[in-house]
Assembly symmetry: C2
Homo-oligomer: 342 residues x 2
């Protein structure tokens, strides 16, 4: 910048101003600076700026569960949207062997404008570290039970989604629906189940069985299906808490247990990951409004970066049910609403 200023016969201050749209510089001066900068290949140094302004244009993304395809999809879209808004994404991944906490410390020292938590539960120590660093936290998709008053969460309306799935399964003929849970202590799990259960009961069915897979993985879904779908008392419909779980269930049902889907068992998922649309799964699912979630998130990040404060609380965005073959009503039965009276 000094060089550029010398080259142009101006002071560094003037040159600096040319790079700030809101600064007060003569249009001609700005044009001259910018064009010369272009020629010399000069780009202002965001690190130096960050030291003074404390605005890094860095967004820290905390991610776990890379093995659930929903998260790579969400990450790709979020990162792309951030790029477009002129933010840089710093990625931290948590895994069994790598707790977020350590990496989070490193991340926070770069003074991200905000931390976005995708799937990480972000323990209280981690949350405290963010608070101490003055970094606001935005939760996407999941939120902790004890959401700090100044933290914000943007999630799918899981309760409503669960209810919507219940409606669909019941209309497709389900009489003994069950719910398959992934990781028990997650908000997604609790909310989707609650919505599903409430609606089942409201429509006159017994409370759906709660099957515990343990994690949101194909393997867990597969294993849980093997143990819960044997015997005569098996459910006739299964709402899996997410699609990757449902994929495991579907394979177990068809290949290992010889069940026909949807004739013997209706299966629905949640998320609408790419695989749900593959012909071999053809999975009915509640599609997450990823586009809207990401757009809203970036909006909030920009607001926060401008110095605004995050509205605390949880924003719930409704998803859309996508009916597919895994719950197609067999033999064109009419929806048997009348049976609710029994």
């Amino acid at each position: 910048m000094k060089d550029l200023a010398r080259d142009l016969g101006m002071s560094v201050a003037t040159v600096a101003r040319a790079f700030h749209p809101e600064a007060t510089v003569a249009a001609a001066t700005r044009a001259a600076v910018l064009s010369r900068a272009e020629v010399l290949g000069y780009r202002s140094n965001p690190l130096a700026r960050a030291i003074i302004t404390r605005r890094t244009r860095i967004v820290g993304i905390l991610l776990a569960e890379m093995d659930n395809p929903f998260y790579p999809e969400a990450l790709a879209r979020l990162t792309a949207a951030l790029q477009e808004a002129g933010f840089n994404a710093m990625l931290v991944v948590a895994s069994p062997g790598q707790p977020v906490e350590a990496a989070l410390r490193l991340l926070l020292s770069y003074q991200p404008e905000i931390a976005v938590s995708l799937a990480t539960s972000l323990g209280s120590e981690a949350a405290a570290a963010c608070r101490a660093a003055g970094t606001p936290v935005l939760f996407l998709n999941r939120h902790p039970e004890d959401l700090a008053p100044d933290a914000m969460a943007i999630v799918c309306d899981n309760h409503r989604g669960g209810a919507r799935v219940a409606d669909h399964l019941i209309e497709a003929g389900a009489r003994r629906p069950a719910f398959m849970a992934g990781q028990a202590d997650t908000s997604t799990n609790a909310e989707r189940f609650a919505g599903f259960r409430d609606r089942c009961i409201k429509r006159g069915l017994p409370p759906p069985r709660h099957i515990h897979a343990g994690t949101f993985t194909y393997k867990a879904g597969h294993a849980a299906a093997l143990s819960c779908l044997r015997g005569a008392e098996r459910p006739d419909a299964l709402f899996c808490c997410n699609d990757i779980l449902a994929a495991g269930v579907l394979d177990a049902a068809r290949r290992d247990l010889g069940l026909r889907v949807p004739e013997d068992l209706l299966i629905a998922g949640f998320d609408d990951i790419a695989l749900a649309a593959w012909p071999s799964y053809d999975l009915s699912t509640l599609r997450q409004p990823l586009g809207r979630i990401v757009a809203l998130a970036v909006e909030q990040i920009e607001h926060s970066a401008r110095g605004g404060t995050l509205a605390g609380g949880i924003i719930r965005i409704p998803g859309e049910f996508i009916p597919r073959g895994s719950t197609a009503r067999p033999r064109g039965d009419p929806a048997p609403e009348q049976e609710q009276t029994s």
Copy 2:
């Protein structure tokens, strides 16, 4: 830091030295500084340091094709390994609507120690931008045809891998094997095909047909399979350039064309993504040595960050063939090597 120094009655210089293992400070002084820093929650600011040392501890990761599960897996492992080594990963994603070029400019202004290209082809303008910024580039998994002399690539030994798949398919009874290509202009595609073809010819088979799917996606594999597996002249074995392609092929073959795998058609893939081990796919594949690739990459990044120069050129690491049901030899036929003479 100034505060810390005042608190301790030392100069900032001494305090600064305490944070550099190689700096010359009295052991007692260092201990005092570090323990007090811990108490006060002080962490040195990497941004300020970066301005002077030009060492940011930032690694820029350029990524495309988030829809091929191989890349999320690779990204997760790379990021985790970088974290452990004290680096921070800055992620830039390319997509049809979002060319890397724009985001790369933003990224480079943060002075990453190195740029890691995962799947991005990184056009010549982009490569030039890196060169201009003095940022070395490390290619993972794929490398450009015209690899710059100072650029390095770490990839699976695709040629050898292709040959290994050929061996396996031939031993499983293949007589008219074919190759399904994804994106034509990629090194992975070219090398895997070359290895496969050479070995087929060497073992007395006609040159394998080259089927062009166009992209490395499930959908492309599915569509290409539908058009190439009809009719009597169809291949009896298909080596798909990667697993996600193979998944599409498998589904098309079984569900749409009524073919039995492996009885009517042998199918092999490449990568060994999670899905390949699912019972519904049970896909034989060449497993990429991701652990070794990542380890070597981090090693090189550390070397480069220490001021060392990257050894230019391509490092090829052999993969491991994982036989599964999609190529299990039907009816226990002995491998008919003798037919090679015909």
